[in-house]
């Protein structure tokens, strides 16, 4: 009987004959320790003690390492094939029966293609579905607009009863996955490509709605999220060499946003720069602007991200440089913000 179940599961989940130990990325880097790649492993660990966890993917189990989960929990893994809407709604059906499903696909497909399934089938019924949008932003580089999710933060944060969070690095992702287990409603988890350098040396203790200050400073606060936190920290070092002291806030909790951290940034440091790997229309920067304006905080402020356009073809690193979303670029934008506007405000 057990053998029957196992065989059937391997067949319908398509887990047979997969080289699970191959952790090389396309450029040959060992990617074992970076976010998208601890997704399956961390959930597999958690699932040892939590029978509610199930993982779904849409023929991207290699890409998001859901196969690491499938290898250890084959009967709790569902591969729906290239049918993302079906995946999200199946997850909702399972959640209504007591499971906590993690449904993972590229951010562009998760958030844009399945926006209605997320709203109507997950958030509206307040079900504990975890929609995992990985390879988000423009991290897929020359794969192009179809594979970029620059709009997902702006879209997802307007959905009621949907919690929206971004993973910063591997340890941060582990913390998010652990935190998510006992969160009652639906969540959108935004992950990078799985190559995000370390910001957190250990798994942080996260509280939903409370941002993490990863570096303190007094002249400016850079509020960044997801893949932009690491370059923001590097930018702060560049700025320090120029005599500018920068606070860096990891605003991983997009909805709910940490209002107190935003207002404190304005009050204590007097200038705010938001940095996100996404269209500046509607995302993190807009959310921060709403708080600042409604509170009457008149400080130099700039939303930095991808302008409202489709990005050109290029390798990811070239695109980050093109849009000044790498460390030197962020430092440059910060410098401009302080020199062009802070004087006028004073």
């Amino acid at each position: 009987m057990a053998t029957d179940t196992q065989d059937q599961s391997e067949i319908f989940n398509g887990t047979a004959n997969v080289g699970l130990k191959d952790t090389r990325s396309v450029d040959g880097t060992d990617t074992r320790t970076i976010p998208a790649f601890v997704f399956g492993e961390e959930l597999a660990d958690l699932a040892e003690h939590d029978p509610r966890i199930v993982v779904l993917t849409a023929d991207l189990g290699r890409s998001n390492r859901a196969l690491d989960f499938a290898a250890r929990h084959p009967t709790r893994f569902v591969n729906v094939g290239i049918a993302e809407k079906n995946m999200i709604t199946i997850a909702a059906g399972m959640a209504s029966c007591g499971y906590v499903p993690f449904a993972a696909t590229f951010g562009s497909f998760a958030a844009l293609l399945c926006a209605e399934q997320i709203r109507t089938d997950c958030a509206y019924p307040d079900l504990p579905v975890r929609v995992v949008g990985h390879h988000s932003g423009m991290s897929m580089g020359f794969y192009g607009t179809s594979h970029h999710s620059l709009e997902d933060l702006g879209m997802m944060r307007t959905i009621a009863d949907l919690t929206v969070v971004c993973a910063t690095d591997a340890n941060h992702l582990r913390a998010l996955l652990r935190l998510s287990l006992n969160h009652p409603g639906a969540m959108y988890l935004r992950l990078g490509r799985g190559r995000d350098p370390e910001v957190y040396a250990a798994v942080p203790e996260l509280i939903l709605g409370r941002a993490e200050t990863v570096r303190d400073g007094s002249d400016l606060t850079i509020i960044a999220t997801g893949s932009e936190v690491h370059p923001a920290v590097q930018a702060a070092e560049i700025l320090a060499a120029q005599g500018i002291s920068s606070r860096v806030v990891d605003m991983w909790t997009i909805s709910p946003l940490d209002r107190a951290a935003v207002l404190d940034a304005a009050e204590s440091t007097g200038a705010v720069l938001t940095v996100e790997e996404g269209n500046v229309t509607g995302g993190l920067g807009t959310a921060v602007a709403e708080i600042l304006l409604e509170a009457g905080a008149r400080v130099p402020f700039r939303r930095h991200g991808v302008p409202d356009e489709h990005v050109p073809v290029g390798p990811p690193a070239a695109l980050y440089a093109h849009y000044r979303l790498d460390a030197p670029g962020i430092a440059e934008v910060a410098h401009e913000l302080l020199t062009s506007t802070k004087g006028k405000q004073a």
Binding site: Q8, F12, V54, T75, R76, V78, V80, G81, A83, K85, N86, T89, I90, A91, A92, G93, M94, A95, S96, C97, G98, Y99, P101, E116, Q117, T120, D121, Y124, P125, D126
Partner: protein, 287 residues
């Protein structure tokens, strides 16, 4: 026992026909409260509601969250107005609550809300989602080793939604013998006949190609529905079950039958009284 079997069957058929009529009269009554509502898409599945809820589904109205209950997903959520009275009648909530239908803050809107209404297994309204929900419920049942079935009621016009076919493909592949999809093939969409707008037929052959076992039945023939449901294979089987119920949109009210004018409407004055009389409301209203 054979001596009693025939009268018992006849009694059951009469009772279920009377409940189907109750679905129709309550739909007319509640629509008047709202000032507009779906009539004809409810009338086509009134016998299906009656047979499923009074004879087929494994339910306990005292325990709407009972893990072992059969699930029912109303994918054609616009028929909810006909389901609410059934749930009230079975005791999921007090019948008087129905009179709040569509009023500000009421649990009862045009489409069903699982968070507010005991007995609703999933919220619906956006067509094309329900079969995927049902696949998830059926997978969950199998993972949990519970032997409940998941029933999903679809419309034939709804089959134009692509997600239906994603779900149909996955149910066949996953071998979900605990899943029963029922298509209320009432022939009409909003703009006219489904066969003219975007044909769904041959529905049974299309599902069969995805690995489903298919059945075809007159959706207004209560005896045939009872027999078909009773003969469904064990839920532990490996083929999802599809029932194409051939129905008539607007069934039971002459002016509405196969008329595209009554998908949404509002009967007032003498028209209301005439339709209630046609449905014989005197014998059922208030039951």
């Amino acid at each position: 026992m054979p001596v009693k079997a025939a009268p018992s069957r006849k009694h059951q058929l009469n009772q279920l026909a009377e409940r189907a009529n109750f679905v129709r009269t309550e739909t007319v009554r509640l629509t008047r409260i709202a000032g507009a509502g779906h009539y004809s898409a409810v009338f086509s599945c009134a016998e299906l509601f009656a047979v499923l809820y009074y004879a087929q589904l494994r339910l306990d109205p005292a325990r709407p969250d009972w893990p072992e209950r059969d699930r029912f997903v109303l994918s054609k959520g616009h028929a909810a107005i006909g389901l609410y009275p059934v749930l009230a009648d079975l005791g999921y909530f007090d019948k008087s609550e129905l009179d709040t239908y569509t009023r500000l803050g009421s649990p009862f809107g045009d489409h069903p809300d699982m968070k507010r209404i005991p007995g609703i297994d999933f919220s619906s309204g956006s067509l094309g989602h329900g079969l995927s929900v049902s696949v998830g419920m059926a997978l969950a049942g199998r993972m949990s080793e519970l032997d409940y079935r998941t029933y999903c009621l679809l419309g034939d016009g709804e089959l134009a939604e692509g997600q239906i076919w994603e779900a149909a493909m996955s149910a066949g592949h996953f071998g979900l013998g605990n899943l029963v999809a029922i298509v209320d093939a009432n022939q009409l969409g909003i703009d006219g006949f489904v066969r003219d707008i975007m044909p769904a037929e041959p529905i049974d052959e299309r599902f069969s190609a995805f690995g489903w076992q298919t059945h075809r039945v007159d959706g207004h023939d209560i005896g045939a529905l009872l027999d078909l449901f009773a003969a469904l294979p064990d839920p532990g089987g490996s083929r999802p079950q599809l029932i194409v119920a051939d129905t008539i949109k607007g069934k039971g009210v002459a002016r509405m039958e196969l008329s595209p004018d009554w998908h949404v409407g509002n009967l007032v004055g003498a028209d209301y009284d005439d339709v209630m009389a046609e449905l014989g409301s005197g014998s059922t209203h208030g039951n």
